[in-house]
Structures are given as C-alpha cells and as structure tokens.
Symmetry: C2
Subunit: 421 residues, 2 copies
C-alpha cells in the first residue's frame, strides 16, 4: 500500500562516491534506512516508506565546496531528484523540513547539499491555509489601489523615543504612504514598548487619514517569545492595527503557521537571518523552496530583497525569486512580494523591465526618509517613478515634466539618489 502522494525534492550535491550511490544514501538516511542495515528494515517498510531516487544528472568534477572529515581532492557534482512518500511526514511543516532539509546537510560523503526545488502534492498544499489576505486582501484594506504599494521602514531602526517615533509616523502617514513597518530590529524594547508604538502609530495614522483620505497600513513587529505572540497580536488588533510582522527565519516556520491560526490581519513576513542557510550555492535551501513553505504557513507579504539592492543577490536572482512568489501554489492566495533594501526612484524602472507587474509592495527606507523635501515628496516621487516605469517613460523626462508642472519631488529624488546609481 504505497502512498501515491509523493513529495519531490531536487538537490545539488557533491560527493566522493558515485552520485547514484550518494543519492541512494541520502534517500535512505532521510527515510527508512540507517547506516548499517538493521533486521527490522523489512521489504514492506522499504517499499512503503523508503524515499526513491528518481533522477541523477552528473554535472562534472571538481574540488569540494564544503569542509569534511575526509577532505577528498576531487568530487563529482550532480543534480539528484528524490521522491518521499508523503505518509512519512504528513502535511506537517516541521517534519517535512526534517525530512527534506534535516540531517542530510551533515552527511560526510556530501561536500555540498542544497535543496534546490520542492514539489508538493495537492493534498499537502490543501492541508495548509496559506495567506488569509495576500496581495488582494492587502489592497482591499488599503482602499483598493491597484498600483505598486509604496511603503517604508521607520528609521532609525532602534532608539527613537516616544515623541520622535510619533513625529516619524505622523510625517509618513500625512505623506499618504500605503505602508509603514517596524524595522526587524525593533520588537518590544522597554524604552519604546510595542504597546506604546501601537497606540501612537494608530492615533497618528487615523488622524492623518482624516486629512488625506488615504489609509495607511502599519506592520507592527510582534517577533518575540511564542508564549506572548497571541497577546501581542491581540494588542495590535484591538487598537485598530492593520498588520503584524514576523521575522520568519528566527521564529521558525511553525511559529508563522501558529500565528496564522489566530491572526485577524495580514502577516508581513520578514526574512532576516535567512541568508545564513541560503547564500552559499552548495548548502541549505534555495529561496524558491523557502517561499513555498512560508506561503503555506500563511505569510501575506514575503520579503524578497530588491532589484538594485544593497544585498548580495544579483538582480536576475531577485527577479526569479519574485517570479516564484507570483507563481500559483494550489488554491492559496498570492502573497505580496515585499521589495526592500536600497529601494529608491531608480529601482522601479529596473524592476518593471525585469518583471512587468504592479503586484508588489516596495519598501523604501532612505528612499523616503532621506528625500531632501521630506517624506511627502519621497512618497510622491516613488509613485511618479512607478508611473513612468509602467508607461516605459524615462525617469528623467518624467522628472522634467513634473517639474514643469511645479512638482519637483521626482527631480530632487533623481538628484539625491543618482550618485548611488
């Protein structure tokens, strides 16, 4: 009675033994096998629970990428595809991670091991709620705007006192910004507790909306101890807050899914710490795999770095990661890809040319706070830059046109940020 529901995982590996043999060892270790065959590993168990090697594609030889006990001079590189019976893990995320991305990174015959892609059966996906709001629900909460959502991070990351915080939020909310978030370093410090931030930010946002008519969503960072997670979420919701933020890699995917179980507002999913298990091309988990699991666990907004960013990934990699976020995953709602790091008026054109979509949440930190004419001009300049990008109209021409109409926000942004670009 072999389970027909299979989870398929593709790995890049390096090994000093034949790749077929290395793949078989990996499959065995991560399912019914052990290093030494034991009497109880019956044919029944192997047949029903054993992971199976589907493909092995040799990619050449070379020096090993990772340290090891044996330190061989040469290894063989390969791409291997392994099929796991879903019965072994059920739809549980933690067990799945343990199976497809657990001890296998330690195996001494592997000198690289990276989970490159993961295909989940329909039943697996259907067992998870996925985003409760996604891009579409976020737009609805923001009055239905169909453009790229423009947001920012409260800066400096840490250290603002109550009055300074109020003033930053006031300026941003009155600038008709769509979205504000806490920095990932800002959680619930004694000098500016979450409760205080929630009260102040909500007051300022509602007051600004009376003036501008434009709703603003604030993502309050409720990252912290799990015992207090629901309390912190409730504190946000009861005060009228519209979004909570979680730094997924430091909390764990199970914590995200736990939050999803009671969350009444969108979950803004930060990726701080993810690069520790993602940046080396021969180790850990590719972004495309991680985002699938973060979406199943319920992230409504998913951080993805940004084109032209100050982070390590190249623009083509960021583009491919954004594309992965916009690829359907069963019947789950599509999340909002959150672009961040180094975002300013020059990045919309880059982004649009790479991937023509406006289903994005763009977070510009310095790009708004450091605009010479203040955050109102910062927000306006970004919206104008996006409008120009979508119309395939050069940003400098657009800046000249707005300036001719008396609005110098884009012109000044171009001047302020062009040094960097």
């Amino acid at each position: 009675m072999r389970d027909s529901r299979r989870i398929t995982a593709t790995y890049y590996i390096e090994s000093d033994i034949d790749p077929e043999q290395a793949a078989a060892q990996l499959a065995g270790e991560q399912s019914s096998g052990t290093f030494i065959s034991v009497p109880q590993e019956s044919d029944r168990i192997r047949e029903r629970h054993g992971a199976e090697v589907l493909h092995v594609k040799r990619l050449g030889e070379g020096a090993p990428s990772l340290p090891s006990r044996s330190r061989p001079e040469r290894i063989t590189r390969a791409e291997v595809t392994i099929e796991f019976p879903m019965e072994n893990m059920g739809p549980d995320l933690a067990t799945t991670l343990t199976s497809v991305a657990g001890n296998l990174f330690e195996l001494s015959h592997l000198f690289a091991c990276r989970l490159e892609s993961l295909t989940l059966p329909e039943e697996y996906i259907a067992a998870h709620a996925g985003p409760a709001f996604g891009m579409v629900g976020t737009r609805e909460l923001l009055g239905g705007a169909q453009d790229v959502l423009v947001g920012t991070i409260v800066k400096p990351n840490v250290g603002l006192d109550e009055n300074e915080f109020r003033s930053v939020v006031r300026d941003l909310a009155r600038a008709s910004i769509d979205f504000i978030k806490d920095d990932e370093l800002m959680t619930d410090p004694a000098y500016l507790p979450l409760e205080t931030r929630v009260r102040i930010a909500t007051e300022e946002i509602l007051a600004a909306e009376q003036i501008t008519g434009h709703p603003t969503m604030y993502a309050f960072n409720i990252t912290g101890d799990i015992a207090g997670l629901e309390r912190r979420h409730n504190l946000v919701v009861e005060a009228g807050g519209r979004c909570v933020m979680l730094t997924i890699p430091v909390m764990g995917l199970p914590a995200l899914e736990y939050l999803r179980g009671f969350a009444q507002v969108p979950i803004h999913g930060h990726r701080g710490g993810l690069a520790a298990s993602m940046r080396h091309p021969g180790l850990g988990i590719a972004y495309g795999v991680w985002q699938q699991l973060a979406r199943l666990a319920g992230a409504d907004h998913v951080h993805v770095s940004g084109l032209g960013s100050k982070f390590y990934e190249r623009d083509d990699e960021v583009t491919s990661n954004i594309r992965s976020l916009l690829t359907p995953l069963g019947n789950t709602l599509l999340p909002a890809p959150a672009l961040s790091s180094g975002q300013n008026v020059f990045t919309p054109e880059l982004t649009w040319k790479a991937l023509p979509t406006t289903d994005l949440l763009m977070l510009a930190g310095g790009g708004i706070a450091a605009h010479p004419d203040g955050p109102g001009a910062g927000v306006r300049s970004l919206r104008q830059s996006w409008a120009a990008a979508v119309a395939n109209f050069p940003i400098r021409d657009s800046a000249r046109e707005s300036a001719a109409r008396g609005d110098r926000a884009l012109e000044h942004a171009v001047r302020a940020f062009e040094v960097k670009n």
Copy 2:
C-alpha cells in the same frame, strides 16, 4: 545613559572594502544606522543604541568565499568584534538573533560573515531559565547512575507498525538501556501516532523495569505544529513518559523556550537542519554560539554529532563542541551532550582520549541494533567499552577478558564493527 550591559559578538568577515569600514557598516546596519544617514539618527540615539566596533584583526587577502552582486576578485579577511547594547534587544532570543545573526549575512560588501562567538552579560543569562533537568536531573531520573548514559534510536527511522514498534522497544528496554529516542523523522504519523507510541513504549518500559530493575528514559519526538505542542507534551507526561524531544533548528529557538515554559520532563534537543547554517566556515553561526542559545532556551540534552561519526565535523571540532556544552553558562544547569551518528564500541576510547568526561549521553543506532547477539549484548558491549576507555585499558584486551569470563558481547561487537573503523 548608555546601557552598560553589552552583548559582544565576534565575526569572521571578508570584504572588498577596508575591514574597519565593513565592521562599522555591519555595526550600523544591525543597530541604529541605515544605509543613508537619516535626519532622525541623532547623536543621542547613536551614543545610546549604536553598536560599537571593538576590535578588527586583519587575516590576509584572498578570493571571496560567497557569491555577490559585485563579484570582486580580491577581498580582505578579518575577525571583528562588535558590542551591542543589550537595551536594543532585551533578553529576547528572537530579537537577539535578528540583531547578531539577521540581515548581516546578506550585506553586499560582505563575502563571508560568520558569527564565531557570543558573550552574553549576566543579566541576559539570568533572564532565561536554562535546562530544568540537565545532566544531573537526567541522571536522577535514571536512578543516579554516574557512568556515560547509553542510549539508542528506534530503527528503522520510519515505517514500523504497532507490533514491530512494540517488539523493538521491548528488546531495548529489557536490555537495560538507559535511553531510547524516536528518530527525528518520526513525529506523529497516521500509521503510528505519537499517542500509540507513548502508550506502547511506556507499557514496555515499565514491564521491563519489573524484570531488570533498570529504568529507561524514552524521548518522544513532539516536534510538529506549535498549536499542538503542549497537548503532545501533556500526552507524554500523563502516560508516565520521562522525556520529550524537539528538533530545535526546524522549530526555532523560541519554540524551544516556549516548550521549556511548561515542560515537566527533560527536553532532548536534536539539531537536525542546523548544518544548513553552520557547515560553511564563512557563513552562518558557529556551534558554540548556537549551543549557548539552545541551553538558555532550555534544552536538557543537546546533540553534538560524535567522534568517529558519519557526519562532516572532524573529531577535534566535535571535541571542541562537546567542551562548549560542558562550559558553565551563568548559573544554568549543565546539559547532557548527546553523542550520535556512527557510535559503536570503538568510539568511547576516541571520545575519552579527546575529553575525559563521563557526563555524556551516547546514542548508538546500528551499534546496538546491529549487534550480532541482539540489543542486550549491544548495550553491554558499549558499557564495557566505556569502562575500558575510562580505565585506559585497550578494548581488545577488555574483550578478551570478558570472553574469558564467558561474556562475548564486546568481542562480537569488536568483530562486527571493526570493518568500519
């Protein structure tokens, strides 16, 4: 009013800019700074909340270890020490990780970034409960034995049905083993639910104790969704179970600390998945850092690979990791280092010579299940091997002596496992 409580982190970095400058950038990004200085980053905030670069030690030049946007040909290697005001994160583990091991792995001027060590102030440590049982409490629950604790993993990892599972546990418990654990792949599958395992294992262990007089601790793997974590823990405790197991890296340190908040039995901390952020020497977090946080969060037993193992770390690295676990951390109880992977009668001598301590929990999978005379002989052979190692008596001489007394367990184990060693 600068906070005198400081968290000190030492990193290995590679950068295409001057290491002093790279360190300052890292310190800024992870505290009060942002890429572009913003008006609100006042002197007050920088003085009170800014992280500070304490030391920069250049280590030479070379090619970059990690991929990046800029792909420089040469980088400078350095060890840098940075001090963070504890006020920025409080004693919260998730916020601490975000600060000392968050976005910094992504920074495009860093071509390696690894958190090598972390020194926490007394107040930080004191804010965490640490292990409730540790090595000493585990020994008490096992009747006070002072030798190395001998344990094993139920094999095959997955797939046993109820009757097969009962038979495996029965044989092990009647072999007077100290400790049995679920494989990390075994959580709560429909074909052999946790509840069933708890019932069967507890029955068999209590029945065996009537015969042998020797208590056995079973670590039930309660890794899974967080909403069900307390229920699964309670299910173990109410049935008379003596230990729960959590795969820490896939669950997250906050989940471990959450479990610690209500756990009534020792927490066996598995490290499945950890190597994804640990194996590359230029990326992620060193074991010594991770184990500190896992101990603060409450792990009573902490997996540490094993000497002579089938995992990648060299024996000297494993020794240093065991030593880190046995180093005091404030007033917290010392955990039991859990040796696993490839453990058999040949590894006690290796281990004792590297680090003469019996404060260890040795998990031998094949080393017990694959003993030609069955698990009883497997357990006996391991105890005899440890006794010989501690007495500095060669294992083969010890095997001959026992054989002369009519006990061939060690002799047969030596023969069965020497091929591998």
